[in-house]
Subunit: 218 residues, 2 copies
């Protein structure tokens, strides 16, 4: 009897098993991210998630055992993406080029993942009580590592002396802002909507301003 056939069938079964489940879990997580990102854990009603995902509430509970579990799942989804853009800060690149690439990547990431970015902000606002310890540890390590890169650049005279902590805060905050304050910024600054071109010019403004400030004077 074909063990090959068996395993093929088994595989087909597994895929099928997972198809519906995967699709619905995704639906739920997407809807949950959207609502959690605006209202936080306590402010979100499971009914809202159910409605937005198009599933009846009972069905949501078929996949997740509680609201908090959904929330944790959205947070877990978030964590990996945190340091994607950070890769650009590497010691073997030229500071100006690396920092510019980082700013661009981070802004692009915020633009493409507005809800996730807002969710992250909201989780922080609430005191980051659901950010797992290992995620914090990971962030700490990555940050320390990249701070070292900056310090090395400064030591090599390639970058004006700067406290990496505050530089990171400037860059994080600026990119964060575009996701979080989009509505307000559009209102107060009297622009219609922040389009891709605005993000480009934002990246340019930030890069130019920061880089001019940080390149060593000769």
């Amino acid at each position: 009897m074909a063990s090959a056939e068996k395993s093929r069938k088994q595989l087909a079964t597994d895929n099928a098993d997972e198809r519906i489940r995967a699709r619905n879990v995704l639906k739920i997580l997407k809807a949950a991210t959207e609502i959690f990102s605006r209202k936080g854990l306590d402010g979100t009603r499971i009914n809202e998630i159910a409605e937005l995902s198009g599933l009846p509430k009972g069905n949501v509970y078929y996949y997740f055992s509680s609201k908090e579990e959904i929330y944790k799942a959205t947070i877990a989804h978030l964590i990996n993406s945190w340091d994607q853009a950070f890769r650009h800060i590497s010691a073997d690149r030229e500071p100006a080029e690396a920092i510019e690439a980082y700013i661009k990547a981070k802004l692009e990431h915020a633009r493409r993942n507005i809800a996730e970015t807002r969710l992250f902000a909201n989780e922080i606002l609430q005191g980051a009580e659901h950010l797992p310890a290992d995620a914090r540890q990971h962030m700490r390590e990555v940050t320390a590592e990249k701070a070292e890169v900056l310090n090395a650049w400064v030591a090599a005279g390639k970058l004006a002396p700067v406290d990496p902590r505050h530089l990171f805060i400037m860059l994080w905050s600026a990119t964060q802002f575009y996701a979080e304050f989009e509505a307000l910024a559009c209102d107060a600054l009297q622009v219609g909507q922040l389009k891709a071109s605005d993000y480009s010019s934002a990246a340019r403004t930030i890069s130019e301003t920061v880089l001019n400030g940080l390149m060593p004077r000769m």
Copy 2:
């Protein structure tokens, strides 16, 4: 009969009338600001406000008729302070000095009003649905006015060409960040707590970075 005495008495009465009320309303607003700033309108339970303010729930409802009314009151409290720091941006000052003063003032304001600043962020996250129309209008006017000042500086050759919109976003976001992300930043950047000295050095870093980038090259 002494009308002087009458008015003195009346005054005493008015003061007394207002003493208890004013004290309790303040207690409630302070507690509400703290909790709203973390959990938003929907995420906040009136019981939490009551407990934190030290008053029984029934008493809270003696002063406010609904949760939303408390929320609106906290928002109203907030609005006036929004453009305090903005005063520094005035056409008759030198750009470098004025912008530096603005950054300092805005950071100092965030440091002294962390809960209010967070509340503002949270209100924005939720879509600014409770920000009154006149408040939006006011923000729009002030922003446009200050953008004009920047443009005039650029036109006079006192400032490198810059899009005021993105510059404002950089400055707003950096100052906002210190209130909102304090907990996370402390964690990720491995500092204990952001102290006054950190805010000073933040102000210095932002000023130097931004100003170096914006002063015209000769």
